[in-house]
């Protein structure tokens, strides 16, 4: 009996755990880095310590006021959409999205409904953590809207009032909606990382998740393969995701939960209304949220206060001209121009624009891209992480590092000695001696690290060492390769900083040559 039960259970378990596809679409909101809000001249600044000091009649939703579009916000929006390979609408307008919430003073949000300014783009994302291949994730649309204010809830649960800060109300906000092309929780994270990299490269947003300038909601369901039939599970929207890690963990959790739920209820897409779930960071689970009543009935209509916008070829060309080299293109160029591996190029690019600039400066100055990449991805990154500083605060400048690396290429310093100098430069920086080219030379002199590559200077010592160690020299002559090591060591002890390669070469020449003579 027991055996039969086991046989029946096993195939079921394997069927349902393997034959499914994860389908994920992400909705990302990013605040734009303008000086002022999108429809009024209040400053656009994260300022939670001073609530309600960045408001005016327009962003407070007073009657009779007139919003006027911020040109810079629209330009940054265009820039982003172009970088995301979107098609730009030549005619676009703004609509009112009606809903009631205390952080929305007008009781409607100015957003874009049927004519967003851009649509149908894509973003290329690494297929795995090693960046072996690229996968193209479709972008359905990017539109420009205004952010709401911030509600602060009473967390004691004692029913006291909620507090509302409207500093944020009216901040320009881009909504970037991906197609459901993402196939795993890890890929969702990589999509977000690549998107953040792109947006920070463009300088359109600082993408600071702690401050809420980048926010993400995820839609996920599973396509189960049962024989010839594909069954879609109900789509769930996961909210309150406040880090990329949270996105990945929440989606991982949802995959398991949706499998379990399908096994117990058999619910398919369309059987139940779309569910919204929150992410509980402490317990690492998603939990069901009460759906907003009639949430889908926003009764959009064109905002009569804002006139439509048309985009000319001239404007598009102008914005296109302002685009910097984008991360994907730069990654590729680093590979080709400096001979880097895909992995090294990605490590450098993924650290952000400033870091890549630093690398490129070192590579150009020391004229050895691979050497620069090794140092920057290992030594510099390790020290940055230990010191918890970004590249702008790193004590050793790109020029100084290049000055040091050049000495390795010029055979004036071994790699090992260069590492010692590097460490001493940092130690000096910690105790108030700023690194500089002069300081590098000083350390090399003080510690006698300079490689002696002057044959004349080595000549006498080598002759003397061979004379003192005739047995070892003879052993080498008779084919005992290892015997040379002892001689090299002795020369190196006498001439501090002697270039071991040169010493070896001169010793061999001398020993073998004297035999011939």
């Amino acid at each position: 009996m027991a055996k039969r039960v086991a046989q029946r259970v096993e195939p079921m378990a394997t069927d349902t755990t393997k034959d499914y596809t994860v389908v994920i679409g992400l909705e990302v909101h990013v605040q734009l880095l303008t000086k002022t809000k999108v429809f009024c001249g209040c400053v656009n600044l994260f300022n939670p310590e001073n609530p309600n000091v960045q408001t005016c009649p327009v962003c407070l939703g007073m009657p009779g006021v007139l919003p006027v579009m911020n040109r810079e916000a629209f330009r940054l929006a265009l820039k982003t959409a172009l970088a995301l390979n979107c098609r730009i609408a030549r005619f676009t307008k703004w609509d009112r999205k009606q809903y009631y919430y205390p952080d929305l003073p007008k009781n409607y949000q100015i957003s874009q409904y049927d004519l967003p300014f851009s649509h149908d783009g894509w973003l290329e994302v690494a297929s795995d953590e090693e960046f072996s291949e690229k996968r193209r994730i479709g972008i359905i649309r990017v539109h420009l809207e205004e952010d709401a204010g911030k509600n602060l809830h009473d967390e004691t649960g004692r029913g006291t009032d909620s507090r509302v800060d409207l500093n944020r109300a009216g901040t320009p906000l881009l909504e970037i909606v991906s197609k459901p092309d993402i196939r795993s929780p890890a890929e969702a994270r990589r999509y977000l990382e690549e998107l953040k990299l792109l947006l920070t490269y463009l300088g359109v947003s600082d993408c600071n998740m702690q401050e809420g300038s980048l926010r993400c909601d995820a839609n996920i369901n599973l396509h189960l393969q049962e024989g010839d039939e594909t069954i879609a599970t109900p789509i769930v929207e996961v909210k309150n995701l406040n880090s990329f890690r949270a996105v990945e963990l929440a989606l991982q959790y949802e995959v398991g939960r949706q499998l379990d739920e399908f096994r117990s209820t058999g619910h398919r897409l369309g059987d139940v209304p779309k569910q919204t779930r929150g992410w509980d960071e402490k317990r690492e689970i998603t939990f069901g949220q009460r759906g907003k009543e009639e949430a889908s009935d926003y009764r959009y209509f064109p905002d009569p206060d804002l006139v439509p916008v048309t985009v000319s070829d001239k404007l598009l060309e102008e914005i296109r001209g302002e685009l910097c080299e984008l991360p994907a293109a730069r990654r590729e160029r680093f590979r080709q121009q400096y001979g880097l591996s895909q992995y090294d190029a990605s490590v450098i690019i993924d650290q952000g624009r400033r870091f890549a600039d630093y690398f490129e400066r070192v590579a150009q100055e020391c004229e050895d891209g691979k050497q620069a990449a090794n140092w920057v991805t290992q030594d510099v990154l390790r020290e940055m992480n230990q010191r918890k500083v970004d590249i702008d605060k790193f004590p050793i400048s790109a020029d100084d590092l290049a000055f040091l690396l050049k000495k390795i290429s010029a055979r004036e310093l071994t790699t090992k000695s260069a590492r010692d100098v590097f460490a001493e430069l940092l130690a000096g920086a910690d105790s108030g001696t700023p690194p500089s080219a002069g300081r590098i030379d000083q350390i090399i002199n003080e510690r006698g690290l300079a490689l002696v590559s002057d044959a004349g200077q080595l000549e006498g010592v080598i002759t003397a060492v061979i004379a003192r160690n005739e047995k070892a020299a003879n052993d080498f002559r008779n084919g005992k390769q290892a015997a040379i090591g002892r001689l090299i060591g002795e020369v190196m002890r006498e001439v501090k900083g002697a270039d071991p390669k040169l010493v070896r070469q001169m010793l061999i020449e001398k020993i073998v040559g004297s035999e011939e003579a």
């Binding site: 001249g41 609530p51 000091v53 009649p57 911020n70 916000a73 629209f74 006291t160 507090r163």
Partner: protein
Amino acid sequence: MEKTLTREEVEKVAVLARLKLSDTELDRFTAQLGKVLEYVAILNEVNTDDVEPMAHAVEMKNVFRDDVPTPSLSREQALANAPKTDGKFFLVPQILEEV
């Protein structure tokens, strides 16, 4: 002419607008709003086959302002009309956390 508006539709719109209507009000508004819609429905008689949908009532386009800060209200001014404040924030009845 068939009824342009049902009582259920008025009820739904009232919920969306956070209005609480009595039964008599619902009846009255259904009839009144229905009349308004019937009147506007006269426009349906116009042939619009070759007419582009209008996005805006005025012909104007591309009105922008420069990204230059202008003075905001003081906090006191911003909060002046609020039914309830603590001097720093607008206070509203506790927002039910979605559970």
